[in-house]
């Protein structure tokens, strides 16, 4: 069974705005799928169509094998939603928001158990949601999303406003839910979070899906690779590290050699090569950041570059500085 399947999903607003263009996407059952894209890429529009808030202009969307335009209610009975950019009901407490979901879904969850899971403190549960910080509201919304053991959980920017402990808890909850068998659709612009929790990612840009794969495969595809930095006792004259398979470039600064690798296996080959020729005193490996990938796929110039293989300068810079330049 597929959790989400879109076939040629297109959504227009008026004549001029094409928000989503022929989106073909499949989220498998039990998968944690990361949905990425810059602001205005069409992510929210896609989620709103999945939820039945918007009608597709063309194409179809099936969620849990049901058509969203015909059985939105049945779908919403089986999914959990953490929406983005909304205000909770100001005068309802956190507990009452969760009770509302339990009541609507005719579920038998204990609100306190769910609120314990998301880490909303007991003394905050009976306070009005208008008094909540962004992080507290996000925890409350996550508890609402978990009501009724949903088969699919849609998380729209779930990390925004959460403190590091909350982000860690979110990852733990996602892991628990997938172990239970749920699928997770994780929409975020915090790329580091997506990288840590998602099996596959789809990158949306200007309404089009520009990448769809595992993060490792995307790295390999655009040869983002990693940078191996090694500090040697002395740099030999004939190091010839560029000749090692999978090495794209290398630079030497005093006793430190920085080697850019385009494939994972090259890292070990580089270390062996160095170890054979000098004493390695220290080693560091820096993976190309997801930001670099993201930039490659969502930057218009880089889009062209992906197609013709001319991606190296941008990736090189990003890999060298941990993505700061991306």
């Amino acid at each position: 069974m597929t959790a989400i399947q879109t076939d040629g999903l297109t959504k227009r607003f008026g004549e001029d705005v094409l928000a989503v263009d022929s989106l073909d996407l499949t989220v498998e059952d039990g998968e944690v799928f990361g949905f990425l894209g810059p602001n205005g890429a069409g992510k929210s529009t896609t989620i709103n169509v999945i939820l039945g808030f918007l009608k597709p202009t063309a194409g179809s969307v099936r969620v849990l094998e049901r058509d969203v335009t015909r059985d939105s209610l049945g779908i919403r009975q089986r999914i959990g939603l953490l929406p983005e950019g909304y205000e909770p009901y100001a005068n309802l407490t956190g507990r009452e928001h969760v009770e509302s979901a339990i009541h609507a879904k005719n579920a038998d969850d204990d609100p306190d158990v769910l609120l314990d899971r998301v880490g909303l403190e007991p003394d905050a549960r009976d306070r009005a949601a208008s008094e909540y910080s962004t992080g507290m509201a996000k925890r409350m919304s996550l508890a609402v999303a978990l009501v009724g053991e949903p088969e699919l959980i849609i998380l729209d920017e779930p990390s925004t406003g959460l403190d590091p402990e909350g982000v860690s808890l979110l990852r733990e909850i996602i892991r628990e839910e997938t172990e239970r068998g749920a699928s997770v659709f994780f929409c975020s612009h915090i790329l580091e979070e997506v990288e840590k929790v998602c099996d596959r990612v789809g990158i949306l840009n200007q309404g089009e899906l520009v990448a769809l794969d595992t993060i490792d495969n995307l790295r390999t595809e655009i040869q983002a690779g990693a940078t191996v930095s090694a500090t040697l006792d002395a740099v030999p004259d004939a190091l010839n590290i560029e000749r090692v398979d999978g090495v794209r470039d290398a630079t030497v600064d005093d006793r430190t050699v920085a080697v850019e690798c385009v494939e994972p296996a090259a890292k070990m080959r580089v270390l062996r090569h160095l170890d054979d020729r000098a004493t390695v005193e220290d080693v560091g490996i820096e993976e190309a950041s997801l930001e670099a990938l993201f930039s490659e796929y969502t930057n218009e110039d880089a889009d062209d570059a992906v197609d013709d293989g001319d991606t190296e300068p941008a990736i090189r810079a990003a890999a060298a500085d941990g993505g700061e330049s991306a």
Partner: protein
């Protein structure tokens, strides 16, 4: 199950806001003042209901505005609608739940204010107070506020922005109340209908015009209060009251049930029409 989810959530959320307290306090305060002041001029407490009725007709809809105009438009603008409609609640259940919640508050305000009038009547009026007249008055007034609340919530359902909802609700109040009744002689339904008839070269009978005139829920409310004053019409003691409710017409608009039907139809049609639009509305 879902209708009650929306109703319960909205009622709790509304009840805890200052708006509810404001609506009930404002209405009770004005009605108490009217009843208290009337004691100086009239011996029977039910006579105060005649003045309270006009206050309900003219001012109560304005008091309902803050209670109703954001019922759905506010949720849409704040995004709170994603909570309710992200759950397995249908759009019909959502609109009806919102309406039922806001109407319950409005009707509670009617009963509290009429109870206040009743208690003041016991203490300040000379004659024995007629409980049944107050009960009937409260019931008919409740139908009126239920109708107006439906219209206002319907406008809120159609509006995606709070400013549009506000203008729509205020406009509906003016159109259905002061304009329809003809409080301003020039800017009134009568002048518009007369001018159109003149333009078309038609002669409008008084009966036809009365059907139009009593076709608003606000004017139907005033006409439908006749049972409150049954058996109490005395042209010497209460000339204005008698002139208003002593009807010699056999037309439907002179029948209480017809006026109740008008109020009900307005509320049902407004909510129904708004739902037809809301059912397919884009909420993203």
């Amino acid at each position: 199950m879902s209708f009650t989810t929306v109703l319960r959530d909205d009622f709790k959320n509304t009840r805890r806001s200052h708006v509810v307290l404001g609506v009930i306090a404002a209405l009770t305060g004005f009605v108490s003042l009217i009843t208290y002041s009337d004691a100086e001029f009239h011996a029977d407490a039910f006579r105060a209901l005649f003045d309270v009725a006009f206050f309900f007709f003219l001012v109560f809809p304005l008091i309902l505005v803050p209670l109703t105009y954001l019922a759905v438009a506010g949720d849409r603008e704040r995004g709170s609608i994603k909570h309710a409609l992200g759950l397995p609640n249908t759009r019909a259940e959502y609109v009806l739940g919102k309406y039922a919640s806001r109407t319950a508050v409005a009707i509670a305000a009617v009963f509290v204010s009429v109870l206040a009038a009743f208690l003041i009547g016991i203490g300040m009026y000379e004659t024995t107070i007629a409980v049944e007249r107050f009960v009937v008055f409260a019931a008919i007034s409740s139908l009126f506020v239920a109708s107006m609340t439906a219209i206002f919530v319907a406008i809120s359902t159609l509006a995606s922005k709070r400013s549009r909802a506000m203008f729509g609700v205020i406009g509906a109040f003016f159109l259905l109340g002061p304009f329809w009744f003809g409080i301003l002689p020039v800017v009134s339904l009568q002048s518009v209908v007369t001018n159109i008839a003149d333009f078309l070269g038609l002669e409008l009978s008084q009966t036809t015009f009365n059907y139009v005139r009593f076709g608003s829920p606000a004017t139907a409310y005033l006409a439908g209060l006749q049972p409150v004053f049954d058996g109490a019409l005395d042209p010497e003691q209460y000339p204005r009251l008698t002139e208003t409710y002593r009807s010699t017409s056999d037309e439907l608009y002179a029948e209480a049930w017809y006026n109740y039907a008008i109020m009900t139809a307005w509320g049902a049609l407004a909510l129904g029409a708004s739902y037809v639009r809301f059912r397919v509305a884009e909420l993203g």
